[in-house]
């Protein structure tokens, strides 16, 4: 199979993730978009590991997974704390800081 397809798929995934960040108001969904972007990268890493015959890429994907998990922990903590204060997690809440 043409590895280019994987690249295209990864790019699509990345774009979808980025679009989610841009368009969704819900903080959790936006965050999921970011996770999607990370996974797009994982796909690339694995693909290129295969194409280039460099095993490191696959290992790297694991590292990314771990980091993503840690990110989730921190991210959810922040979102939850905020949801307690504000009673919602909409990103379009009137902002305290701007300008």
């Amino acid at each position: 199979m043409n590895p280019m397809n994987y690249v295209i798929l990864a790019t699509v995934l990345f774009s979808v993730g980025a679009t989610a960040v841009l368009l969704r108001r819900n903080a959790i969904i936006a965050f999921m978009g970011i996770e999607l972007m990370l996974n797009a990268s994982n796909l690339l890493l694995v693909t290129f590991a295969r194409v280039n015959g460099a095993i490191a890429g696959q290992v790297d994907a694991f590292a990314v997974l771990v980091v993503a998990a840690a990110e989730v922990v921190v991210g959810l903590a922040i979102i939850i704390a905020l949801s307690r204060s504000r009673q919602n997690i909409s990103l379009d809440e009137p902002s305290e800081m701007k300008g």
Partner: protein, 521 residues
């Protein structure tokens, strides 16, 4: 297929290990010492000792370093004079940051006593009354510091991503822990986190693309493949551009700067101080290494990007800072402008820049830490007479020079250093930074930089005007209180002494910086 087990030279990692170790001990301390005051004391001592020791060890390493340095963990990490210089600087910033973390006035520090409860709730009030303290801030800060120090040694794109997260994640949390204006603080944390994660993801995607092109994640490997390949595949270029985004984000460069003002304003001031100085330094260090080691072959392609970003950063930072009315936000925009000045040096792709950038960051970081230390001392008084949040509205600083002459004088000194007035560290920093650029023929960039500096002076000076030349309205005697906590005073003293010393007799430090202008591939 076998994965070779990496040979790790532990020696050069000692500064980082000290800080990481202290952070871990700190977590244990959280678990085992119940008494709040005792815990706090232990954490404070531990944090200060660890960062101090890290700085000393970094210097010792410098002394015993053989040759230019070495790879210490395969292709992943190197230790060279450049990284040691950065580590020393970062350890210093961390030490000063921890001093600010530990500072309390009237028994209260800048952090919320209980992060888990909602702002304004009875639990919060109770926690405050019982004198709870969120001592996790120290391990968190140490983790971030350790990540930053590690950041400067990284020579592999994926490791860079990992370390980026190591240093970022604790910061995301720290930003949200302000005692007062908690909503703002939490909002800042969320923004920082989302934007940071977003930027990391972009970076990672770029790194993956570059991996696809060069089949390597190590800087050396990437550089080799760039050198070998004559064609410039879009995949490589796109990957490189995306990677840069990640680091430019941390640096606070336009258009990846949007988080900066909000986070600087919302975060607890000690965190802002630490982050503004240290994160920017770490990002600059990593960016320099990435650009000069991995991407040097692409200098021709990358330069326009850096030029564009640098110009946009300097101009936007300056222009928007002029209209700010909040001290912390103003300093945030000023930090954006400074990121631009830093980029001016980096665009040169010359060895000089590697000496200029650490010096610049040292000068900038000292002034930043000092300035935020001052900010943390100027407080509002609530109507019931208790000490409130920081008085960050510009107007509240009117007449400070009369009420607290030394504090105001120190602030003026830091502002002058930001503005790059001679006999302050900021001037020498600007000088070496601009010189690197001019030597590379980038004088139009420098011209923009000097004009931006001149415009920037306007808002630094405006604050000085407020402090010294504007009489305070009488009600300020009631509503604005200048406190005298030890930690910020120490930070201020160190920062002021450093600012003057680096401005008047910068020679020894410049000499070290020159020696540090070496990267081990």
């Amino acid at each position: 297929m076998s994965v070779p087990s990496p040979v790790i030279l532990w020696g050069p990692l000692v500064p980082v290990l000290i800080v990481v170790g202290a952070a871990m001990v700190g977590i244990l301390v959280e678990a085992f010492i119940r008494q709040s005051a005792m815990r706090r004391l232990v954490q404070t001592v531990l944090a200060l000792a660890a960062t101090g020791a890290a700085m000393i060890v970094a210097f010792l390493q410098w002394a015993v370093l053989k040759g230019d340095g070495a790879r210490i963990a395969g292709n992943y990490l190197v230790s060279d004079r450049q990284s040691l210089a950065w580590q020393a600087i970062l350890a210093l910033f961390a030490l000063m940051g921890m001093l600010l973390f530990s500072s309390r006035t009237q028994g209260e520090d800048a952090f919320t006593p209980l992060a888990s409860v909602a702002p304004g709730s009875t639990e919060e009030a109770l926690a405050a009354k019982r004198g709870f303290a969120q001592t996790e801030i120290f391990p968190l800060g140490l983790f971030a510091a350790a990540g930053m120090m590690l950041f400067t040694m990284v020579s592999d794109t994926i490791v860079l991503f990992v370390v980026l997260e190591i240093l970022s994640l604790p910061l995301y949390l720290l930003v949200g822990l302000a005692r007062r204006r908690r909503l703002m603080s939490q909002e800042a944390a969320l923004k920082y986190f989302l934007m940071g994660a977003f930027a990391s993801a972009i970076y990672l995607f770029g790194a993956s693309l570059v991996f696809g092109y060069s089949a390597a994640t190590s800087y050396a490997g990437i550089a080799a493949s760039i050198a070998a390949g004559l064609d410039r595949q879009p995949m490589l270029l796109a990957g490189v551009a995306l990677m840069l985004v990640g680091l430019l984000f941390k640096l606070g460069a336009v258009p990846f700067h949007a988080w900066t003002p909000d986070v600087y304003q919302g975060a607890p001031t000690p965190v802002t101080a630490f982050m503004a100085a240290a994160t920017k330094a770490a990002a600059a260090a990593a960016l320099a290494r990435l650009l000069y080691l991995a991407l040097f072959g692409l200098a021709w392609e990358i330069a326009p990007v850096l030029w564009t970003v640098a110009i946009a950063t300097m101009l936007l930072g300056t222009v928007v800072a002029i209209v700010q009315t909040d001290v912390k936000r103003m300093l945030a925009y000023s930090s954006i402008a400074h990121a631009g000045f830093l980029l001016v040096a980096l665009t040169s792709f010359r060895g000089d820049a590697l000496a200029a950038v650490p010096f610049y960051m040292l000068a900038y970081g000292l002034a930043t830490l000092g300035a935020f230390a001052v900010v943390s001392q100027v407080r509002e008084r609530t109507p019931d007479g208790a000490l409130g949040a920081e008085a960050t509205r510009l107007g509240q600083w009117a007449g400070l020079g009369r009420r607290a002459p030394w504090l105001a004088a120190a602030m003026a000194l830091f502002l002058l250093s930001f503005a790059g007035i001679p006999l302050t560290a900021g001037f020498i920093g600007k000088f070496v930074a601009f010189r690197a650029a001019i030597d590379a023929g980038a004088w139009p960039l420098v011209l923009v930089a000097v004009l931006a500096s001149a415009a920037a002076a306007f808002f630094y000076v405006r604050l000085i005007v407020l402090m010294f030349l504007t009489p305070a309205p009488p009600e300020f005697d009631e509503s604005v209180e200048v406190t005298n906590a030890t930690g910020p005073w120490l930070v201020m003293l160190v920062a002021a002494a450093g600012t003057i010393l680096l401005g008047v007799l910068p020679s020894p430090v410049l000499e070290l910086a020159h020696q540090a202008a070496i990267l081990v591939p």
